[in-house]
């Protein structure tokens, strides 16, 4: 066992890869800052998978030796029995984000998180590892539920075979989720290896470098248990509030007669993006701010079986307009990017749905106001109803936690992704043709 390394170590003289690795490592060691550790942080350079396995196996035996009161219910602390989480960390900003997100999970933490830093191009010991275990109080706080974080830095050729390293470190008979923060290397063999190990792949389409390519790849991934997209999860309140308009039978008849949908979402401010990530900001700006807006539009279109008809305005400066074929009417779909500093890039700002009705046009409006929504409807000749509802901006931890609860394929999401690919391709094709 070695002392905790690296803090304050000078990177000068190292290669760029080595400096990157050091920076990542420094960030990841923040797991060791946990106040409620069960056992001292264990770390070892040039170690083996067997040594990591041995340490993990001994962890809870050691924890039980502290004279704690053992009851029929067991020790006052016990390891969570929820799931394994495999996380990849390619660079320092993502290391910051991953650490912050996992720490933010609190009692919703996976039983064991395995954080992988892969450096196939670096020489040196092929495996460094550190293991920490920490606990959080649950319910009435007289008991604690505990978790483990395993950080593995893999170098050289073994970094191209991560599945073999990770497999023996998973807790048996628990579901395994693979979280790939950032822009996933869809064409990379490592991506396929790890995705194949998991029961569910978690990613964030807002992070995709190429949204259309990403959606197309997601549509063709044949996973046992599907995909959780954090951008989709962010739409949860928008979808709930939109569906609520049409839960009332008297408004439901407007659904087939929707003829205009306008979606506005946040783009970086032209004054300079105040939301740009600070050094320790775990939420960097998003690569594809269009993701949420196009997913929302595709969700409605797919649920109502609208078909793409023609491109009215190709994708330009984050905005586009399509003409869709609805059941009884043509539908004008407009997605408009609005520069703003008020919310994170990509968040929806407003949604306006319009329908034809027997007594004139009906309008259904949701506007974001901070962490609340202002909701209005004007239909049946009734005066517009105005109310406020909760619309929190969930943290990445909250989003990640929500993906851990659901377990099955999300057919509604999969339908929306397929539609998003079609709409985006149409908007792009027109753009290219134009």
């Amino acid at each position: 066992m070695t002392a905790q390394p690296h803090e304050g170590e000078q990177p000068s003289g190292y290669s760029a890869d080595a400096e990157r690795e050091l920076a990542v490592h420094r960030r990841l060691m923040r797991f060791g800052d946990q106040e409620s550790r069960v056992a001292p942080v264990w770390s070892e350079k040039g170690t083996t998978v067997a040594a990591v396995e041995d340490h993990l196996a001994s962890l809870w035996t050691l924890a039980g030796d502290d004279g704690a009161r053992v009851t029929e219910k067991g020790l006052p602390h016990a390891r969570a029995s929820v799931l394994n989480l495999i996380v990849t960390v390619p660079d320092e900003p993502l290391a910051v984000r991953v650490v912050s997100t996992l720490l933010g999970l609190g009692y919703r933490h996976p039983s064991r998180a395995i954080v992988l830093v892969a450096n196939p191009d670096r020489d040196g010991p092929w495996l460094d590892a550190s293991v920490s275990a920490h606990c959080h109080a649950i319910h009435d706080a007289d008991e604690q539920v505990c978790y483990e974080e395993v950080i593995l830095t893999v170098r050289g050729e073994p970094a191209e075979h991560l599945d073999g390293i990770v497999a023996s470190l998973l807790i048996h008979d628990l579901p395994t989720l693979v979280w790939w923060p950032g822009d996933p290397p869809f064409a990379d063999a490592i991506f396929d290896q790890l995705v194949e190990m998991g029961d569910r792949l978690i990613l964030d389409s807002s992070d995709f470098g190429d949204l259309l390519l990403g959606f197309r790849r997601l549509s063709t991934l044949r996973r046992r248990s599907g995909i959780a997209d954090l951008a989709w999860k962010r739409l949860g309140w928008w979808q709930e509030l939109t569906a609520q308009f049409f839960d009332a039978p008297r408004f439901r008849r407007y659904l087939p007669n929707l003829n205009r949908v306008i979606i506005r979402y946040a783009l970086p401010s032209s004054k300079g993006n105040q939301k740009a990530p600070a050094k320790d900001d775990p939420m960097p700006g998003v690569s594809s701010p269009l993701a949420q807006a196009i997913l929302y539009a595709s969700w409605i279109a797919n649920r109502l079986e609208w078909k793409r008809h023609s491109t009215v305005r190709p994708l330009e400066a984050g905005s586009l307009a399509l003409s869709l074929e609805g059941r009884y009417a043509m539908v004008e779909l407009r997605i408009e990017g609005v520069p703003t500093d008020t919310v994170l890039d990509g968040e929806l700002l407003s949604v306006r749905l319009r329908a034809r009705g027997e007594t004139g046009a009906a309008e259904f409006i949701i506007d974001r106001d901070g962490e609340e929504a202002v909701i209005a409807s004007n239909a049946d000749g009734m005066t517009a109803q105005l109310r406020r509802a909760r619309m929190e901006l969930p943290s990445e931890s909250e989003l990640l936690a929500s993906t851990m609860v659901a377990g099955q394929h999300d057919a509604v999401y999969e339908g929306a992704v397929r539609a998003a690919g079609v709409f985006l391709a149409a908007a792009r094709a027109s753009e290219e043709a134009g």
Binding site: E72, K73, G74, A78, R79, A80, S81, V82, L105, Y107, R108, H109, I138, H139, D140, E143, V145, G236, W237, Q239, E240, L241, T242, A243, Q244, F246, D247, A248, P249, R250, R252, L255, I300, R303, L304, E372, I375, M382, Q385, R387, R388, A389, R390, A401, M404, V405, D410, A411, V412, Y413
Partner: protein, 533 residues
């Protein structure tokens, strides 16, 4: 409890056909969204509204489970303005909601749909005026004639309120309404459902005189708890347990509802009620029925309640001699509970100094069914006990051959499966394992599933689940009239024996203990002992 998304068929059977499903609802978190409706709380200024109903409604709203048109009408005798009633509800949310602090603007928006209606429950004009107010709300807020009446009042007021609801034309649903306007009416009734079999029958008749049984939702909040619902999933969602869920493998069953608290300011009520009526008649017998029932044909209200009723019908009714032999009642005397000195029950406020009311009761019940014949069900509840715990524990039969019972090797403890309802919701299986080392030593070990360790989500409060169920018309977790009456029929001989002084004495037990020694003897006679959960 229904797992379907927006219902397309009539679940409730209360005569109101549901409309076609909302295609946008599929896959969303709030898979069940009630139709727009008004909830009328009769007795709205009381403790239940402040502690439970207000917080539950606010939490449902916050979770996005209430339709935008949802409206609350408080109805009570006290003079109060709309704003004062809103403040009353708000104070309850501030103090008792699991989501605090309150979100001001969300509350303000919700408060627009909260109004107060003053009136005496026996004043027909007050009900006429309430009906006009509800019609106005239907027009202004689009609540479509759907009304849920919650009787948050002492049971003595139920008959009058129900009669007035009928006279005011507020009870019928849909086509049964005089003006044939659409919409449903439902009524939620709080326990106790009667005081004995006779009064329960009378109450049911009074309710059914005005409402159809499908419109009546008798709330037993225990059934809204996640673990109680999980009892059904545990049994019928797994292939592992149901084959051994019978007399061939199960030796006995213990149902415990233990409280550490005393009467907590409810002295007058409790002294007239006692543990048998307060806990056994409803919570404990419902747990027994959920535990012992046969698989329902479908997981629907009608089928579930049919199966629970069959179990209750199969429970043997006791003779007076049986009561003396199979029932132990107790009353706590001064003692220490969780480090606090507790006075004797008879020294509590509002308690008669010579009260014989039982604060503890233990029963040995038998279910005369093919599945359970010969398996004793030990049921106990008590106040001022050592630990707060509600559980159903199964003791399995020992293996047919005592292979390891050689000289010097202690008897292997029987296998236990304990389903913990509260606190520490979860399931524990206890079995023997070899102690590592030379020789053959066997010790019992636990396999322990706990909700908190396996599900990283908060459970909703039971009232949230049940209110939402009533709004969507799912009566699965509510008790039906025949269940209630059968539960009273099981216990009526006990009450009568006690009244006649023939059911055995009241045994005293120290607060902070596990009940009177006589309760231990009840099991010791069968060669068994109580668990200490």
């Amino acid at each position: 409890m229904t797992t379907t998304s927006q219902p397309t068929a009539d679940l409730s059977g209360d005569g109101v056909a549901k409309t076609i499903a909302n295609p946008l609802r599929e896959g969303l978190r709030a898979g069940r969204m009630p139709e727009p409706c008004t909830m009328v709380i009769c007795g709205a200024t009381g403790d239940l509204t402040e502690r439970k109903l207000g917080p539950a409604l606010y939490n449902l709203l916050l979770g996005g489970f209430l339709p935008p048109e949802f409206t609350v009408v408080g109805f009570a005798r006290r003079e109060m303005t709309d704003d004062q009633f809103r403040d009353h509800l708000r104070q309850g949310v501030d103090r008792y909601s699991r989501n605090r602090p309150i979100k001001e603007s969300i509350w303000d928006s919700f408060a627009q749909g909260i109004v107060y209606h003053r009136g005496d429950f026996d004043d027909a004009k007050a009900w006429e005026s309430l009906r006009s107010a509800l019609d106005r709300i239907d027009r202004d807020r689009g609540t479509a004639g759907n009304r849920l009446f919650y009787l948050a009042v002492p049971p003595t007021l139920y008959p009058e309120i129900v009669r007035q609801l009928g006279d005011a034309g507020l009870a019928p649903s849909g086509e049964d309404r005089p003006d044939q306007r659409k919409g449903w009416s439902r009524v939620i009734v709080e326990k106790p459902f009667g005081f004995d079999l006779t009064s329960a029958r009378r109450l049911n008749q009074e309710l059914r005189h005005v409402f159809a049984e499908e419109q009546i939702y008798r709330i037993d909040h225990y059934l809204g708890k996640e673990t109680v619902q999980n009892l059904a999933v545990f049994r019928f969602g797994n292939g592992l347990f149901e084959p051994i869920w019978n007399r061939r493998y199960i030796d006995s069953v213990q149902i415990t509802v233990a409280e550490t608290v005393g009467v907590e300011g409810r002295g007058e009520f409790y002294d007239q009620t006692g543990a048998l009526r307060d806990i056994i008649q409803n919570h404990a017998l419902q747990l027994l029925a959920m535990f012992a029932m046969e698989p329902p044909v479908e997981f629907r209200a009608q089928d579930l309640r049919d199966e629970k009723l069959k179990v209750l019908r199969a429970v043997h009714e006791m003779s007076t001699d049986d009561v003396a032999a199979n029932v132990v009642r107790g009353q706590y005397v001064s003692g220490w509970v969780e480090g606090v000195k507790m006075p004797s029950y008879r020294d509590e406020p509002e308690i008669a100094p010579d009260s014989d009311t039982e604060t503890y009761v233990a029963l040995r019940l038998e279910i005369g069914s093919w599945r359970w014949a010969g398996v004793p069900f030990y049921v106990r509840t008590g106040k001022a006990l050592s630990t707060r715990a509600t559980e159903v524990a199964v003791q399995f039969k020992s293996p047919p051959l005592a292979l390891f019972n050689r000289a010097g090797v202690p008897q292997i403890e029987p296998n236990i499966l304990a389903i913990r309802i509260q606190p520490d919701e979860g399931i524990l299986i206890r079995f023997g394992a070899k102690v590592p080392g030379q020789g053959m030593q066997i010790r019992s070990v636990n396999m322990d599933f706990r909700y908190g360790f396996s599900f990283a989500v908060d459970s909703p409060d039971a009232y949230e689940t049940l209110l939402l169920d009533a709004m969507v018309g799912d009566a699965s977790l509510f008790t039906r009239d025949d269940e209630v009456e059968r539960a009273w029929a099981i216990l009526d001989p006990v009450l009568k024996a006690w009244e006649a002084g023939a059911g055995g004495p009241v045994h005293f037990y120290g607060a902070g203990s596990w009940g009177p020694p006589a309760a231990d003897e009840l099991l010791a006679r069968d060669g068994r002992s109580w668990r200490k959960p």
